[in-house]
């Protein structure tokens, strides 16, 4: 019920905003206020706040209820005093406060009241924004613009204050809290099991997002270096899943079991580089558990050694006079197969640690634990192409393949061009070796699509965290990510290191839990900094750039289990309900492309017949296309090119791709993810009936400009965002994702040489070849793999095309209609044309962002967002203009014409620039989207 209400409200908000949209000034003000608040917080805050990511701070300042203690101080010292006052605090916002019982909360409320007076406006409006952002990504670009602007402003301000954040994500994060406010939601008690085994209970509003809870926990723990951690919940199938901070908790857990565990999510390869002892301590706790449970296997000797450091850290020096320490030792668990002999050994080693402080002992513990071969490796059960049971391990360096205990293969991140999943298949596309001409794709079969997706997400996150400098560029991210929902939203390791290097609070004191006799807090303990310099595996010479395309068409079948069963036929016309047939036939394939060798490196090399479309596109396309198409596709592929081994991909219900190589500098990762099933599902659930109706109606609610892949003729994207960049700079990251959910976007990019391009090209090219199957013919036709020169005369432009079609829930649609289950269907097609310049691989260096601005204009059925960024790379300054045109309307709109018009205009407006990329994104919503 709540959900519905919530959704409605949101909608309203949107409306409001859109209305308000025009006046940016207001927003600006609001934001301004926010900014101020944030500033205050920082000043007053214990100092911690400074280091907190903007998004973190914001919420606090604005949301009365925000758990953070910092907030309190922020506003006014008086607030503390107020804590005592219990009276239901008057809240500004109303809902949240009621719930709170905590003293802190109360105090906060008081503050807030005050604070709010200042920032009432902001509070109200903002929430909407926050949500919008998300929505925007998924749904309507129009709104997005507004948000962007606003956020942009905010970000700037904040950035000034907060170091190292730099993520555009801020906005996303902020929203949750605010949103909560508006709708008075029920408060729910969450139970979080901490690493020391204790339980932390807190209340959150029913619609709170994951990060809200996470921050509460971190606050409770007094943890600043929190990016290495995360919350885990168990899904309905008892599988452990990471709670996505950017999404509502309720939608993720899907049950009434609000139980979580706080865990290490990314194991720092070099724990000595962590700034605070408390962080190391928490990591130690996690590892002790890992070791004791056998998850982190180690030898007898190592068990003993690690155990001895644990004793030293928790109990201090060995004291001979103490009666038989063995008595307590056997109450502690050090190893799965602990025995007397081991305990003796532990005690013996413990004696040798005399004089070591707890912090030092923890560090020694970590220095040894990090060398264990399974340290930080997240294992997933799978089967190889022959049905043999294997384990896939995701870690900082890449993907490991184990059979029993033996490592039988390893794929370093730099070797991986694309990570995708389709149904219960998980694929990685491998960069050809020095002597190989062709890329290959390795497939693994997972238990079900949920596990495939989970694995995929873990890969995306680990790659992003460990290999990227920054998640996604804030600006572009929006454009790019329109359709995709999932990507790594937190800070990368590089960012978190930078941020934590700025921590200057006095070492917080904390008790090491199990210590019974001595609680030596580390305070004061000399921090041993063992500098481990380059910890990174050398192998990666290349910059980690990720393109994350996750186009998941996640048509999430309502039940994962059902996935196989579902038949999804996609109709070329979005409006119609598409049924997706899921064929499980081809599950695991190793495909080596025989065909064109050249493809690998050079994007320009014309991929085989038109059929080859950008990889992501393929899949997506598939979805959209009707079954027929799929079939056709496969056929075509086979016929046309032998290269690809036809994979079953064509029919993907849920798929997602992620391209790990993105030029670092650019950092623009495209992670188009499709909506996650979960969300979608949930959404669907939540979505309510209303939407359903629409769905049934069939005609897509909003047809964004559609470029239909099916028509070969439409070479150029029809609608979409056009990006123009100066031809000169090449390096750009062109990979933006092309998936926009709702609308079609054409993005012409210019950066000719941009590394991205090269990468993309590589990716695309290969993908095309291999995976052509995905899309029906049409796609192929339209998009020639070959780089085509975009109409513009300018610099040599090669078109790379990525056609992405993602249908969400397409499969379900049909069924839905029948069943009445509310399902949201979204079909998305994205076609990208890129200029072909590729050299750029080499340029990995990140440019310096000089300026960025966004301009939005609207007309009847089109919304144009222009995003201009100036970047300084090397000695060159590069100006890139991205124009996103969203055309909203019914199918009758002539998309081709619209596209042509858009391109024409773009050229006219910027004659000196070349169009490097055109992305057409067509999205049809069958059902409502989550609002």
């Amino acid at each position: 019920m709540t959900t519905e209400a919530g959704s409605k409200t949101e909608v309203k908000e949107k409306a409001e905003e859109s209305a308000a949209g025009p006046d940016q000034s207001e927003q600006a003000k609001q934001e301004h206020q926010e900014g101020e608040n944030a500033v205050r917080e920082e000043k007053e805050g214990k100092g911690i706040s400074r280091y907190l990511p903007t998004w973190f701070k914001k919420p606090k300042s604005q949301s009365q209820t925000s758990p953070t203690k910092e907030v309190q101080p922020t506003e006014e010292p008086a607030s503390k005093a107020t804590k005592e006052e219990e009276g239901p605090s008057p809240d500004v916002n109303g809902h949240a406060e009621e719930v709170e019982e905590k003293e802190e909360v109360k105090s906060e409320q008081v503050k807030e009241t005050e604070a709010e007076t200042h920032s009432n406006t902001s509070a109200d409006t903002e929430p909407a924004k926050g949500e919008r952002v998300e929505e925007v990504e998924e749904q309507s670009p129009e709104e997005a613009k507004e948000t962007k602007e606003g956020e942009g402003a905010e970000e700037e301000k904040k950035e000034g204050q907060v170091e190292a954040e730099g993520n555009g994500q801020t906005s996303v994060f902020q929203s949750p809290l605010r949103v909560v406010r508006k709708t008075k939601m029920k408060v729910i008690v969450c139970h979080v099991t901490l690493l020391d085994g204790t339980d932390f209970t807190c209340e959150v509003e029913k619609r709170a997002k994951g990060q809200f809870l996470f921050f509460k926990v971190c606050e409770h723990l007094n943890l600043l270096e929190k990016d290495y951690f995360g919350l885990i919940y168990k899904d309905n199938h008892e599988q452990k899943c990471w709670l996505d901070p950017t999404k509502e908790i309720k939608r993720q857990i899907r049950s009434n079991n609000w139980q979580f565990t706080f865990n290490v999510k990314f194991y720092p390869p070099d724990p000595s580089l962590l700034t605070e002892d408390i962080t190391r301590y928490l990591l130690c706790l996690q590892l002790r558990e890992d070791v004791a449970s056998g998850r982190l296997p180690c030898s007898f000797v190592t068990h003993a050694l690690l155990g001895s450091y644990t004793l030293q850290a928790e109990f201090g020096d060995y004291e001979p006079d103490q009666p038989r320490p063995l008595d307590f030792i056997n109450q502690l668990t050090f190893a799965p197969n602990q025995n007397k002999e081991m305990e003796e050994k532990i005690l013996e080693l413990h004696k040798s640690h005399r004089g070591m402080t707890p912090a030092q002992a923890d560090l020694q513990f970590l220095e040894n634990a990090k060398k264990l071969s399974m340290y930080g490796v997240d294992l997933h059960h799978a089967k190889d192409s022959e049905g043999v049971d294997i384990m896939l391990g995701v870690c900082a360096n890449g993907l490991l393949v184990y059979k029993d205990r033996l490592r039988i293969n390893r794929f370093a991140w730099p070797k991986i061009l694309k990570i995708s999943y389709k149904r219960n298949n998980f694929y990685i596309k491998i960069r050809p070796g020095e002597t190989e001409q062709f890329e290959s794709t390795v497939g693994f079969k997972l238990q079900n699509h949920r596990s495939a997706k989970r694995l995929w997400k873990v890969c995306v996150e680990n790659h992003s965290f460990f290999r990227l400098n920054a998640p996604e560029p804030p600006n572009k991210a929006r454009f790019l990510t329109l359709g995709s929902k999932f990507r790594y939203s937190g800070r990368t390791q590089a960012q978190t290191r930078l941020a934590s290097s700025l921590i200057d609070r006095p070492a917080p004191s904390f008790d090491r839990t199990s210590s019974k006799r001595i609680s030596r807090s580390l305070d004061g303990a000399p921090v041993i900094s063992v500098t481990a310099a380059g910890r990174d595996g050398a192998e990666n010479g290349r910059d980690p750039h990720l393109e994350l395309h996750s186009d998941s068409k996640v048509s999430v079948s309502q039940t994962e289990a059902a996935s196989a069963e579902n038949t999804i036929s996609e109709t070329k016309e979005p409006e119609k309900m598409t049924e997706i047939e899921i064929e499980e036939t081809v599950v695991i394939q190793e495909v080596s492309k025989a065909t064109k060798a050249g493809l690998v490196t050079v994007p320009p090399s014309p991929p085989p017949p038109p059929a080859a479309a950008a990889p992501p596109a393929e899949q997506e396309t598939q979805q959209q296309e009707v079954k027929v198409q799929e079939e056709v596709v496969t056929v075509e592929e086979t016929q046309q090119r032998k290269q690809e081994s036809v994979s079953s991909e064509s029919e993907s219900e849920e798929e997602a791709e992620y391209h790990p190589d993105v030029p670092v500098s650019l950092c623009q990762t495209q992670i188009p993810e499709e909506k996650e099933e979960e969300e979608e599902e949930e959404e669907e659930e939540d979505v309510e009936p209303e939407k359903e109706v629409e769905e049934q109606v069939s005609p897509p609610v909003a047809l964004p400009a559609l470029a239909e892949v099916s028509h070969p003729e439409d070479e150029t994207s029809q609608e979409g965002v056009c990006r123009k960049e100066d031809a000169d700079e090449n390096k750009e990251q062109e990979h933006e994702t092309e998936e926009s959910t709702d609308d079609v976007m054409v993005t012409p990019d210019e950066a000719p040489d941009s590394p991205l391009l090269s990468e993309e090209t590589e990716k695309t090219a290969p993908s095309e070849e291999k995976e052509p199957r995905v899309n029906g013919e049409a796609l192929l036709v339209e998009v020639d793999p070959r780089p085509q020169v975009i109409c513009c005369s300018e610099p040599p432009v090669v078109k790379t095309e990525m056609v992405t079609i993602s249908d969400t829930f397409a499969a379900q649609k049909t069924e839905i209609a029948t069943k009445e289950v509310p399902i949201v269907h979204t079909e998305t097609k994205t076609i990208t044309y890129e200029a072909a310049q590729l050299d750029g691989n080499g340029d990995g260096e990140p440019g310096v962002l000089m300026t960025a601005q966004t301009i939005t204009s609207e007309s009847l059925c089109t919304t144009t967002t222009t995003h201009i960024t100036k970047t300084l790379k090397g000695g060159l300054s590069e100006t890139r203009i991205e124009k996103r045109i969203v055309i909203t309307g019914d199918c009758d709109i002539d998309h081709d014409q619209a596209l042509a018009q858009a391109i024409k205009e773009a050229k006219e407006q910027h004659p000196d620039m070349s169009v490097t990329r055109v992305v057409v994104h067509k999205e049809t919503e069958l059902a409502e989207e989550e609002d």
Binding site: S299, T302, S373, N397, D404, L406, R407
Partner: protein, 282 residues
């Protein structure tokens, strides 16, 4: 201090075994050849003397067993890493009993003994390359997957990767460690292929020293107090071209060791000893 992966190449003890007279006619070999027993014994004595006198290791010498013609090649009978010794189950039926004496000797050295009892498992120590960070196990005529799994179980701290051995008897028939992070590798195609696989499977980056002759790539590396890097390698007489490559190793104590007779029965330098680092008890 105990400490994981500390001190690669540090050794205090060496286990060796005498050359039985039966070696000349009964020892297994890939190519039929004539072996000069006296010569083989002289070479072996020189080898042992080198370890003991010049390098200062505590040498434990087991007597030869005439019923075990290959018993001099003790490396195949046990894999020692840190304080753990895995007693293998040699791939050649005729060699299975070699492990008995080896096991006793290692036990006497206070190592934790792990035995390979699974009858489906085979493993020759010559197929096990320990790099200091991880293990590579060659899947060869003598070693199978199950053997490798058991090894992985015995040394849980380390990653254990398998490498197919396409040519030669053992993995170490064409490679060995030449120092921390340095792999000495033969230049034959199978050797190079194996190296590629090892590089791909590893989280670490290894340097490589390629020598023209595969057999010359089998060397013994030690890092000894007061001596620094020590490399026992083939003689110039045997492999002149390969020896030149070793001379590129700066700051190494290079010691040519003649192994011309044992090599006829596929016994390389590493085959003739099990090196152990026994920590002084704290």
């Amino acid at each position: 201090m105990a400490g994981l992966m500390a001190g690669f190449g540090h050794y205090t003890h060496a286990l060796v075994r005498g050359v039985p007279a039966s070696l000349t006619r009964a020892a297994l070999r890939m190519q039929p050849t004539e072996v000069d027993l006296d010569m083989a014994r002289r070479e072996h004595e020189a080898y042992v003397e080198l370890l003991r006198a010049r390098l200062g290791l505590e040498v434990v010498e087991l007597p030869a067993d005439e019923s075990l013609p290959d018993c001099v090649f003790v490396e195949d009978a046990a894999v020692v890493c840190g304080e753990t010794a895995l007693i293998t189950r040699p791939g050649a039926e005729s060699r299975r009993r070699e492990t008995d004496a080896v096991k006793r000797a290692l036990k006497d050295l206070n190592l934790n003994i792990v035995e390979m009892t699974d009858e489906n498992a085979t493993l020759d120590g010559g197929d096990v390359l320990f790099t200091g960070q991880e293990f590579f196990v060659g899947l060869s005529k003598r070693t199978n997957q199950r053997g490798a799994e058991i090894l992985a179980d015995a040394f849980k701290d380390y990653a254990v990767s398998t490498v197919p051995v396409m040519a030669g008897l053992h993995l170490k028939s064409f490679c060995s460690m030449g120092g921390p992070g340095l792999i000495i590798i033969g230049s034959s195609e199978p050797a190079q292929k194996a190296l590629k696989i090892m590089q791909q499977m590893s989280d670490y980056r290894y340097d490589k020293l390629t020598v023209p002759d595969d057999l010359a790539a089998n060397c013994i590396y030690m890092n000894l107090p007061n001596k620094g890097h020590v490399l026992l390698h083939c003689t110039e007489k045997e492999f002149p071209e390969s020896v030149k490559m070793f001379e590129k190793l700066k700051d190494y104590m290079l010691i040519p060791v003649c192994n011309s007779e044992k090599v006829k029965v596929d016994g390389a330098l590493t085959c003739c000893s099990v090196l152990i680092n026994q920590k002084a008890n704290i």
